[in-house]
């Protein structure tokens, strides 16, 4: 009996890993500390009212990721490589600087995730964060990341608990339906910020760079491209499903009880219908996994992208002396990011949230570059964008810029 149980589990894992391409992996990294915190807050503070936003976000996510993957397959080059070759060193430098700062915010968020998840077990951040940072650093420098990736990926099945908990919490399905089909929105600083954060956490700027590099590294041929497209659509569906259920569950539990999410303990209460008094333990485990998973990829991807664009040696198979900029930037991001989380009195969840708002503000900038490149006939040949793609992505750019301006205006007005 027990054997059989393990056997089926093993089978599920194998099937999952077999289909997990760059799109699905990227999606699961996407549900990082920033994702979990932002979705929890969206549900807890706004109830079901922001659910509708997930549909346009999902459409934009599919379109944008498809573009990144298509560019990777057709050109065989990373995004920063293409930007450098097309726009020259000056624009590339400042763009990468903006990206590094944005990603740095995300790295801080991941370590804030580590700190807050382990605070549930009363482990102080002065212990958890340095250990977490060192672990992540070692994982990559020692080249053991690849083998651990599968563990991280498997642990992402944690998100299923939100789906179960969501059903057990017996949400008001009528309100859920209204949340999806009857968009409600007020022009306040709070809801504008939350909307930008929802976009920024689901379609994070760094993901486009990461996805394209992953596609290039996999050496996918143009003729196999349709599989990648499926992989991306599937990945985006998973992200949206998870996001939707986190929001729904938090709305049905936290929002109903009037709990504001300030710490991981608050957010964990959303899992109470499923796990009862063990909900904190379950949530802590999920948040820790998500944070460490993203913390292993994010600084690495950032260092890689920067070195690729600037023409410095990169890659974990190089020695430190061969690729000093690569390891320097990588280590700096991790240890400085972890260091900031250690500052006394820093509010962890708000920090995570703000980093996702910044993601949403920087995203249109990256999108503009992607759009110029993907419409370049010389570069993409017959694989340039079709009209619908341009329409939706330019629409996303304009809406995001509009939202950012509105946010700024409402902050100044308030």
């Amino acid at each position: 009996m027990r054997r059989g149980f393990f056997k089926t589990r093993w089978k599920i894992l194998l099937i999952f890993l077999a289909v997990a391409g760059p799109g699905i992996i990227t999606s699961n990294v996407d549900n990082d500390a920033g994702g979990i915190a932002t979705y929890s807050m969206a549900g807890a503070h706004f109830g079901y009212t922001l659910l509708w936003s997930l549909i346009p976000i999902m459409i934009a996510l599919v379109i944008i990721q498809e573009m990144s993957a298509r560019m990777g397959v057709v050109t065989g080059k990373g995004l920063s490589d293409l930007i450098r070759e097309r726009f020259g060193v000056r624009i590339t430098f400042y763009l990468l600087l903006a990206l590094v700062l944005t990603n740095f915010g995300n790295v801080i968020a991941e370590f804030a995730g580590v700190a807050s998840s382990l605070e549930i077990f009363n482990i102080p951040k002065f212990v958890s964060v340095p250990i977490g940072a060192f672990l992540v650093w070692l994982l990559v420098v020692k080249g053991t990341y690849r083998s651990v990736e599968k563990v991280f990926l498997f642990a992402c099945l944690f998100y299923v608990t939100y789906i179960i908990s969501g059903f057990l919490a017996q949400p008001d399905w009528g309100a859920v339906r209204d949340g999806f089909i009857a968009p409600k929105f007020e022009l306040s600083t709070g809801s504008l910020g939350m909307l930008i954060a929802l976009v920024g956490t689901t379609i994070a700027p760094w993901m486009q760079f990461y996805l394209q590099s992953a596609v290039v590294e996999k050496n996918i041929k143009v003729r196999d491209y349709k599989h990648s497209r499926l992989d991306i659509i599937l990945g985006s569906l998973i992200v949206t499903l998870v996001a939707g259920f986190i929001i729904l569950t938090c709305a049905a539990t936290l929002f109903k009880a009037g709990i504001r999410v300030e710490t991981a303990k608050d957010a964990a209460l959303a899992l109470e219908p499923l796990a009862g008094k063990y909900c904190s333990v379950l949530f802590a485990f999920g948040l820790l996994n998500a944070s460490l998973f993203a913390a292993s990829i994010l600084p690495l991807s950032t260092a890689f992208v920067v070195c690729e664009g600037m023409g410095w040696e990169n890659g974990v198979n190089k020695k430190f002396s061969e690729a000093p900029q690569f390891y320097g930037l990588y280590s700096l991001l991790i240890f400085l990011g972890a260091g900031i989380v250690l500052l006394p009195g820093i509010p962890l969840f708000p920090v995570i949230y703000i980093s996702q708002v910044i993601n949403g503000i920087v995203l249109p900038l990256i999108l503009i570059f992607i759009l110029i490149l993907i419409n370049d006939k010389k570069l993409m040949g017959e694989y340039v964008n079709k009209g619908v793609y341009n329409f939706i992505s330019w629409g996303t750019v304009i809406i995001l810029i509009g939202l950012s301006i509105a946010l700024l205006a409402s902050m100044l007005g308030a």
Partner: protein, 424 residues
């Protein structure tokens, strides 16, 4: 005013400083901006032959011969009288590249350091009325210069650390541009990629691994057969397949014939059945038969890693005759340490070492000297067992015999280690 025709004028400048310079006609009227320059490769320090100028109010830039330039002053380029009438659409012939479109900010190979670098700037020299490429800037200083920060950075590093970032300018002699305009895909790039041939195959393999797919196959196709075969042996197995698939069937089978048979067999085993069959069809018979035999052995067995590149000698010969045979051997040898002694039916009867040949008198018969205590393996045996034998006996190579004790191949220590540690 720096008049172009002024004899003896020598001046260095950076390409990035020239880009965007305004172009004025002979009446000092501004007509447009410099957007690119065309260079004819081939010479040691190649000449700029054409300027690309974007005229005011026009969308696509036009080309103008270098000889139409009167002078270069600061950031103004003055043309000769009536030069503007000679503007025409750009033509790009073989062996010509555009500096901005194909070199600046792109990847290039530093053949001196055997590395791929990114071009941060191009260092030009005006001498005797001609503009030539002399260096390529691969360094951090080039980046700072283009960002406009060089003075501040120099000041700061001098102030704090009494240090200045060093220049990293590489002479054009050692720079191989990797321009690959989509339209140029079909050109024979052998002329323009010539500098790569100075590299060792393992360096070439490293460089090929770092390139994108399209450049990878362009560079690979530019190599001569022998270099291509040696390079292919060195690259990652996953890339081997895509490289061999990028070549035509005829090229591919020629390259496979040049490769060490065991390496070629490994590569063939990774290809699809159809591709394999097509390659065999174009291959010469002896090569094909040898590879087919090697391919019959399952992966992970001794047979799959053995090679036929060894030397064997009849048992009734003398040392002198063996040396003579050695001298006459022209096919490649994976090891020269051992000579395998066989009887008339190709049964393995003994082993000699190079030392026997060097130390014994010419008249000595092999059968008296050879070592008859033989350690050998069967083709079906696992690689693990082969590794154990190497570990125990510390040989450089082990003979492989079939079920009738006939010598069919050898396994070298190198191949055994390689099969155990794929990345070796």
């Amino acid at each position: 005013m720096k008049d172009m025709q002024e004899v003896g004028l020598k001046m260095f400048l950076f390409f990035s400083e020239l880009l965007g310079c305004s172009v004025i006609d002979s009446k000092d009227e501004p007509i447009g901006k410099l957007v690119d320059m065309k260079v004819k490769l081939g010479e040691l320090f190649p000449k700029v032959v054409t300027l690309r100028i974007k005229l005011r109010g026009k969308k696509s830039p036009l080309a103008l011969d270098w000889s139409e330039i009167q002078s270069l002053n600061g950031n103004i380029i003055s043309l000769k009288p009536d030069a503007e009438k000679k503007l025409k659409p750009l033509e790009l012939n073989e062996g010509e590249i555009l500096l901005k479109e194909e070199l600046l900010d792109k990847q290039a190979v530093d053949t001196y350091g055997a590395k791929i670098e990114r071009v941060n700037d191009i260092h030009l020299l005006i001498a005797d009325g001609e503009l030539r490429i002399v260096h390529v800037d691969f360094g951090l200083r080039g980046i700072f210069r283009r960002l406009g920060w060089i003075k501040i950075i120099d000041f700061l590093t001098n102030w704090f650390f009494a240090y200045q970032f060093p220049e990293k300018m590489i002479s054009w002699k050692y720079v191989q541009p990797l321009a690959s305009d989509p339209q140029k895909k079909n050109l024979k790039l052998n002329v323009t990629l010539r500098k790569l041939h100075e590299l060792h195959p393992s360096e070439l393999a490293d460089i090929i691994e770092e390139l994108d797919q399209e450049k990878r196959s362009t560079v690979f196709k530019s190599l001569d057969l022998q270099t291509a075969a040696e390079t292919l042996e060195e690259v990652d197995p996953k890339l081997q397949v895509s490289l061999i698939e990028s070549a035509t069937e005829e090229q591919a089978s020629d390259i496979l014939e040049e490769m060490a048979p065991d390496e070629a067999a490994d590569l063939l085993a990774d290809l699809t059945e159809e591709k394999k069959r097509k390659l065999f069809q174009t291959m010469e018979k002896p090569h094909r038969e040898e590879l087919e035999e090697l391919l019959r052995f399952k992966e992970g067995t001794a047979g799959s890693i053995m090679t036929k590149d060894f030397i064997s000698i009849q048992e009734d010969k003398t040392i002198g005759e063996a040396i003579e045979e050695f001298r006459k051997t022209t096919h490649p040898l994976e090891t020269t340490t051992y000579l395998y002694v066989i009887d008339k039916e190709n049964h393995l009867v003994g082993v000699l070492t190079l030392r026997h040949l060097l130390l014994c008198v010419n008249e000595a018969p092999l059968s008296k000297l050879m070592n008859i205590h033989l350690i050998k393996v069967k083709p079906e045996e696992g690689v693990e067992e082969v590794a154990e034998i190497f570990k125990k006996y510390k040989f450089m190579a082990i003979p492989v015999v079939d079920k009738d004790e006939r010598l069919t191949g050898i396994i070298t220590l190198r191949d055994a280690v390689e099969s155990k540690y794929k990345e070796f």
